[in-house]
């Protein structure tokens, strides 16, 4: 696949931060192309830079050098305020521990990303309801997180991630805190989002069973991508 058609395109991406006085470089001169509509799993040992790469792609961190295009936008060049606006409409983030706001109901949690969007209350509520129906929790909208199971909480978090209809979803070990059955449901849901709704998903996982659901599995070893598990993926 040509890099021109890539939805995500990294070129020479390096990330260095400091732990005290010691510079740490989890990613060095990384190149990566991910086509639109791909379910990509990132694997690797702890400290290999998976989450760092995920955060860079999600626009919540910026590379020290290199270019990082997502959907045609070089997000490495965006300033903090511009990145915030870009994230609001282009990325949905799914956390391992869901990170729902405990005082809010499922509906209100899903509504959060739309609160600052230029939408009428009616339209906002319609979109929230659609997202909750999509994850199978239309009948749990008034439940608070403490009244939901772990799997249901993660489904609320997924609804929150997709409610603004972003093209890209990033997930940091989304099944890491779930039992086998719930994990399977979540992975099937993610799979469906790619297949039925054309989302591009980048998922960090330690679990080979979770990775097996993805179209592509990449391994990060010592700040580099060392293996491409799919012919459509070009990793250098």
């Amino acid at each position: 696949m040509s890099s021109h058609e890539s939805f995500i395109r990294c070129r020479g991406v390096t990330k260095t931060y400091h732990k005290g006085n010691t510079p740490v470089t989890p990613l060095s001169a990384l190149d990566l192309d991910v086509p639109r509509g791909t379910f990509l799993a990132l694997m690797g040992p702890s400290g290999s830079g998976k989450t760092t790469l995920l955060n860079l792609i999600a626009g919540i961190d910026s590379p020290t050098s290199g270019s990082l295009h997502v959907g045609g936008v070089d997000i490495a060049k965006l300033k903090r305020g511009q990145l915030t606006k870009w994230r609001a409409s282009h990325v949905g983030y799914i956390f391992q521990l869901y990170h729902l706001v405990p005082i809010l109901s499922a509906f209100e949690n899903v509504e959060l990303p739309l609160l600052l969007a230029p939408l009428s209350r009616k339209e906002r509520h319609r979109q929230v309801q659609v997202a909750l129906e999509l994850v199978g929790l239309g009948d749990r909208s008034d439940h608070r997180p403490s009244e939901l199971s772990g799997g249901q909480e993660q489904r609320v978090a997924i609804a929150r991630a997709i409610v603004a209809n972003p093209a890209l979803l990033v997930a940091d070990e989304p099944t890491g805190d779930l039992d086998r059955e719930s994990a399977t449901q979540i992975l099937n849901l993610l799979r469906e989002l790619v297949r039925e709704h054309g989302k591009t998903i980048v998922m960090v996982t330690h679990d080979p069973r979770a990775a097996a659901v993805a179209d592509t599995v990449l391994h990060l070893e010592k700040d580099r991508l060392v293996e491409a598990a799919d012919l459509n993926m070009q990793a250098a």
Binding site: V101, I103, L112, A164
Partner: protein, 384 residues
């Protein structure tokens, strides 16, 4: 923009209910501080109104020179006819004042003896709530009580009461926009002169109305000049200057309370700042999550600031309204050297209290808001 801000305010309200006890304790602490602030502001405002002369003031008080208590200010009643002849004088009313305590006191009882036919000239602003002025005029030992006085002592029309050696019959309860009128008992001048053993023909002071504010000083000088060599020389001042001079101790005492007000403001500031800082520290990760969802730095800062403002305002409303209710219910009057200062709250105090509470809430949350907004997302997500 307005809709977004409104959504953030709604979110902030929900966040405040998250730690109900903590929010409630903070609000109660703020309320206590704002209660004190509003009470002090009310005292300051009452003092200001009682002592600051305005362009509309046209009343002079003629008092015995070098005397500060009604018990020692003794002037011949016949001075009235002399004062009346001075150019620029519109009305002269001899008044006998008897108080139960000349020192600073919270329970002052003041009788004002005025000629029965001059009451409506002396205090045209009074309204009779119960009883009638006619029944007051008809009975020599009758008294018209200010409503706060009556409420404080539990007196009603038809009652008799004894204070400072004077026994009177309550003929009516009055209300007046002049706070002092609500804390005194108006009685007949001759009756009070006899009952207080001052003797007929002796009064405490003359209240002199002049034709315009410009005539205050010339008339005062002329009065004092005229009686300078008499056995009872006078000192004449505008009514509010008389109050400020006579109740000097009271003025200093109330002036000191300004520091209590400032202390209350500092306490409220510290309390809200501490509460908001705790909120921010407890929500480092959650604020980072909100930022991943598209909340910008400004939105995060606004969310934190709104929580601080809401805490300040909720406590402010509670504290200021409590002070308002307390002061109205208690109708506190401070007396000193025979003059009384009614501590009465007004709309200005309420508005200033709420504005102060709002400003303190905002000020207290500025640093926490800035701190919350500038934290990098990634390190915040890693925070334990």
């Amino acid at each position: 923009m307005i809709a977004k801000s409104f959504n953030i305010v709604l979110l902030a309200v929900k966040q405040l209910t998250r730690h109900r006890i903590r929010s409630l304790l903070t609000i109660l602490g703020v309320a206590a501080g704002m209660f004190l602030f509003a009470t002090v502001e009310t005292m300051q405002g009452s003092l200001r109104r009682a002592t600051q002369t305005t362009a509309d003031d046209t009343t002079l008080v003629v008092y015995r020179d070098n005397r500060f208590c009604p018990a020692t200010s003794r002037l011949p009643e016949h001075y009235e006819s002399t004062i009346r002849k001075i150019e620029g004088v519109r009305e002269v009313i001899p008044i006998q004042i008897v108080v139960n305590n000349c020192g600073a006191s919270l329970d002052i009882i003041a009788f004002r003896g005025v000629p029965p036919d001059s009451l409506t000239k002396y205090a045209p602003q009074i309204q009779v709530l119960d009883g009638t002025v006619e029944s007051w005029k008809q009975r020599s030992d009758a008294a018209l009580l200010g409503r706060h006085f009556a409420a404080r002592r539990g007196l009603k029309v038809g009652d008799r009461f004894d204070a400072a050696g004077v026994v009177v019959h309550v003929a009516g309860i009055i209300d007046s926009p002049e706070p002092q009128d609500n804390n005194v008992a108006y009685v007949h001048l001759p009756f009070l002169q006899q009952a207080s053993r001052a003797g007929l023909g002796v009064v405490t002071q003359f209240n002199v109305r002049v034709t315009s504010a410009e005539r205050l000083d010339p008339v005062a000088k002329e009065i004092d000049e005229y009686f300078r060599s008499e056995q009872a020389p006078t000192r004449t001042r505008p009514e509010k200057a008389f109050f400020a001079d006579t109740a000097q101790e009271l003025v200093e005492l109330v002036g000191f309370t300004r520091w209590l007000g400032l202390g209350a403001v500092a306490a409220v500031l510290g309390l809200v700042a501490n509460a908001v800082l705790l909120v921010v520290r407890a929500r480092v990760k959650e604020n980072a999550v909100l930022q991943t969802l598209g909340f910008g730095q400004r939105a995060i800062a606004l969310l934190v600031a709104v929580e601080g403002v809401l805490l300040g305002l909720a406590g402010g409303v509670l504290g200021v309204l409590s002070a308002l209710a307390f002061l109205r219910w208690q109708s506190i009057t401070i007396g000193n050297e025979g003059v009384t200062l009614a501590i009465m709250p007004d709309l200005d105090v309420v508005l200033r209290g709420l504005l102060t509470a709002f400003a303190l809430g905002l000020l207290a949350s500025l640093y926490p808001a800035w701190q919350a907004a500038r934290r990098p997302i990634v390190s915040s997500l890693r925070a334990v």
